[in-house]
Amino acid sequence: MELHAEKFDDVLIIRAVQDRIDAACAIRFKDKMREMTQSDAKRVILDMSQIAFIDSSGLGAIVAVMKAIGPGRKLELSGLTHTVQKVFRLTRMDTIFQIHERLPVGLAKAG
């Protein structure tokens, strides 16, 4: 599970550098995300623009990370691809995350 982090003031951008978050890597993803978010960043944005596929284990891992870093901090998501969007929408998890179409201006070079 490859994740690259970069901090911009109080925003931590984590870019997932692989094409799937699935049952084969969900636990490692969750552990690594928890480890990488041990900082004082107020916002954490997970750039998912390279993730072409996510299954329910991957989705559960993202929800678990959101809970782990809260409640004072938010996990935001960016760049959801077609299939990933569909999984979030069907399960209504699109309603609990702030989802950016792309990384906010000024942070786009992160990673």
Partner: protein
Amino acid sequence: MMNIARSADFELADVTIAADFLSVRHGLQHLFNQDPLADLSEESRDHSEIVLAEVLNNIVEHAYCGADGQIKISVTCQCGFLDIRIIDGGRPMPDLKLPSGELCPMFDGQDPPEGGFGWFLIRSLTQDLHYQRVQDQNILQFRLAR
């Protein structure tokens, strides 16, 4: 581990994979690179991959519970549908019934569920979902719009 048999005449794909999460990943990638799954529309491909991933991962996790085993996936294509049959030799479904697959009641936004999405997705995206236990094997069949 993967054994593949194909017949172009019937647009049939048969794939047998080992019952572990990595084999599921590789099996899916392989299935979706060959007929009849390779030329699906974007939406059908999304739905098919989501459903197959959930079914196969459930078998690895709950039928085989981490033990060695095999899963056989057969896909046939006819009349605008994909008919899929998945056979495994793991434990039977509890009470020989498929999970209801209800998404947990609408959460308040503070405590969203971390699981329970799998059967909800399967039931949301399939038609004619049917489960049988025959001679120590689980047979799951369903139809996906193509």
